[in-house]
């Protein structure tokens, strides 16, 4: 008799719990709460996002710049220690640097989307965030078109599509102006020095290689595999570049302000065609990349741009 009552009590308890769970599920499933949309990122992943995105964490300086440029800077709730532009970005909470972000700080900020710049260490990172219902959107531009696509996509993510499109349109116009100016010019054979010792350069997969082409240059390392390959000193010497670009003076500070020893006798150095350009304009595939493009084009073809 006693055992029988216990059994009925237990059954009642189970029923209550199941009902509560079902109720919870149905209320969570109602359309007004969780309308989602899907968007494909640069890693080819289907990312599902809530209809309205109010809280975003950016894990790269270029993505932070894009957020502000599409008018969604006020919805950025987290950024890396490298994100220093625009100045307003510095008021946003830091979550570590690009390679070592603090996962728990990101989760504590309750973002709906985390923007990351490459597919590196994605798997562990994404799994942890997705278990917290946080979407991860990967950007990986290999050329200026890819940068424009990042801007449009981020505009779409935050629902500022028009602003993003008009920004891209303006950037395209400036890009076209450069293209017309250098159209008739013979491409200048250029070497892009990422660092002198050891020698790193921009390879086939880097968007800077595309920027150089658009600026009326021909990168002597355009066919080297990878984005930022370690390059042989003797190949650099043998390449005899007519111009050298030193990205320096921005986040680099005074680093990379000297031409590598192997290039000291190159035609570029002998003819004084070594150009220092703010590395933040060239190393960040964001809106300011077009500033970098213009500076590079003016350096490579000064006569194409009358004052």
């Amino acid at each position: 008799m006693r055992a029988h009552r216990d059994y009925r009590l237990a059954a009642l308890g189970v029923a209550v719990v199941v009902c509560a769970l079902l109720a919870g599920c149905t209320s969570r499933g109602t359309p007004n709460h969780g309308a989602t949309r899907e968007i494909t990122d640069d890693a080819g992943r289907r990312v599902s996002l809530p209809a309205r995105v109010d809280r975003v964490v950016s894990l790269a300086p270029n993505l932070t710049e894009i957020m502000f440029a599409v008018g969604a800077g006020n919805r950025l709730v987290g950024r890396t220690s490298y994100c220093d532009y625009p100045p307003e970005a510095k008021a946003v909470a830091e979550v570590g640097d690009t390679l070592h972000p603090s996962l728990e700080r990101i989760i504590a900020l309750k973002p709906q989307v985390v923007l990351v710049s490459t597919a590196s260490q994605l798997e562990v990172f994404t799994n942890q965030l997705q278990s917290q219902n946080i979407a991860v959107y990967v950007t990986d531009p290999h050329d200026l078109e890819g940068v424009f696509r990042s801007i449009e996509q981020i505009g779409e993510i935050v629902g500022n599509k028009d602003q993003a499109n008009s920004l891209v349109q303006k950037l395209r116009e400036r890009t076209n102006t450069v293209a017309q100016a250098v159209q008739q010019k013979t491409p200048v054979r250029v070497f892009y020095q990422v660092s002198a010792e050891p020698l790193f350069t921009a390879g086939h997969d880097s968007f800077v290689t595309d920027l150089m082409r658009r600026a009326g240059g021909a990168s002597v390392t355009a066919d080297v595999p990878g984005a930022w390959p370690r390059y042989s000193n003797e190949s650099a010497l043998a390449a005899r570049p007519e111009a050298i670009i030193l990205p320096t003076g921005g986040s680099m500070g005074t680093a990379n302000a000297q031409v590598a020893e192997a290039l000291r006798q190159s035609p570029a150095v002998l003819h004084g065609r070594v150009y220092k350009i703010n590395d933040d304009l060239l190393a960040r595939p964001g809106p300011r990349a077009v500033d970098g493009l213009e500076e590079m084009a003016r350096a490579l073809h000064p006569d194409a741009f009358p004052k």
Partner: protein, 349 residues
């Protein structure tokens, strides 16, 4: 059997003569191989050079271009040859230092990289780079200091009441290595983010920065260090019997210990300052020298120096040609060859 008996009853003077002859012969063969390697490896690189003209220019010691264009001449004499000479100096230094530590600590596993001494030198070099970036000459000095501090730390940690047992030594090496690795991580984090990639590359051992100023220093240190340890080789032989026995046989144990510590730290310091931490050279090369020539330090130390030079020259040629025009850090190649070879040696012995 007969030859064995005659050797045991031979006079010490005669035995010394035999050793000397064996040393000279082994070193002559290795030196000839080294010269051959320097010539052959300087013909290989990411840029093809005309064979005949290059050989002719090398034979003239750079006094004649032999029809090479200015660029080809510069590639050969300004880039390849300095790098190969640096590889030789670094390889010789690390192998000699390894042989020295192994004899002094009576442990075949003692190696600058595995004991954390290379890491000590790396910390010193990084401090020089961060705080005295413009003053290149501070790098070998601080690297030497770092190596010396790490050496003493390992030695002190390894010496228990029962003396420095092999287990204690390896444990001490692990502790010093991991501690200094975290110091390195700490310094890199504090450093400029944009330079981290260059530093990680350098940490794995990279010979591309064959700086004009440091190259002669590295070569001179390698030769002087090898000579200094070879001159102490007799004492090291006796030390291998144990410090107590060596002392009874008239070895000034304290003096020899300090000489080996100083010289080996200097060798490690100068090579790390020039090229980062190239691992396994100090382990594999002295082992090969002892396996093929016997454990007499009078032979094995100079042979290890020449063999180390050969080993790193070949490893670096692989590093700079295998994915040309891109490059790998030479440390990755030496570890790739060194670790399996070491396992093989361990199983054989």
């Amino acid at each position: 059997m007969i030859s064995n008996t005659s050797e045991t009853i031979a006079s010490p003077a005669r035995r010394n003569r035999v050793t000397l002859r064996k040393t000279v012969l082994a070193c002559a063969v290795l030196a000839a191989l080294l010269v051959l390697a320097i010539v052959l490896m300087s013909l290989l690189g990411s840029e093809p050079l005309p064979l005949r003209a290059s050989l002719c220019a090398l034979a003239s010691f750079g006094t004649s271009a032999c029809g090479l264009s200015q660029d080809q001449f510069d590639i050969l004499f300004q880039i390849r040859l300095p790098r190969i000479l640096l590889a030789a100096a670094v390889g010789g230094s690390l192998a000699t230092a390894g042989a020295g530590y192994q004899a002094l600590l009576r442990n075949p596993l003692a190696e600058p990289y595995l004991l954390g001494i290379s890491n000590g030198a790396a910390v010193g070099t990084m401090i020089a780079l961060v705080f005295f970036g413009a003053m290149e000459w501070t790098r070998p000095i601080l690297a030497f200091s770092g190596a010396l501090v790490a050496t003493f730390a390992v030695y002190r940690l390894a010496r228990g009441r029962a003396g420095a047992t092999p287990e204690r030594l390896i444990l001490a090496g692990v502790i010093v290595t991991t501690f200094l690795s975290s110091v390195i991580v700490f310094v890199t984090v504090m450093m400029d983010a944009t330079r981290i990639r260059s530093f990680t590359f350098w940490l794995l051992g990279d010979l591309s920065g064959a700086s004009k100023a440091l190259l002669p220093v590295t070569i001179v240190v390698a030769i002087a260090g090898t000579l200094a340890l070879t001159l102490n080789a007799r004492s090291l032989n006796l030390l291998m019997l144990g410090e107590r026995d060596a002392f009874d046989l008239g070895v000034e144990v304290g003096r020899v210990r300090i000489v080996v510590f100083l010289v080996a730290s200097l060798l490690v310091g100068s090579s790390v300052a020039a090229s980062g931490s190239v691992g396994y050279v100090g382990l594999v090369v002295p082992h090969l020298a002892r396996l093929s020539l016997g454990s007499d330090n009078r032979i094995s130390i100079p042979a290890a120096a020449l063999g180390g030079a050969l080993f790193v020259i070949i490893a670096d040629t692989v590093a700079r040609t295998i994915i040309a025009p891109r490059e790998l850090p030479v440390g990755a190649i030496t570890a790739l060859i060194g670790a399996p070879l070491f396992i093989y040696l361990l199983r054989r012995v």
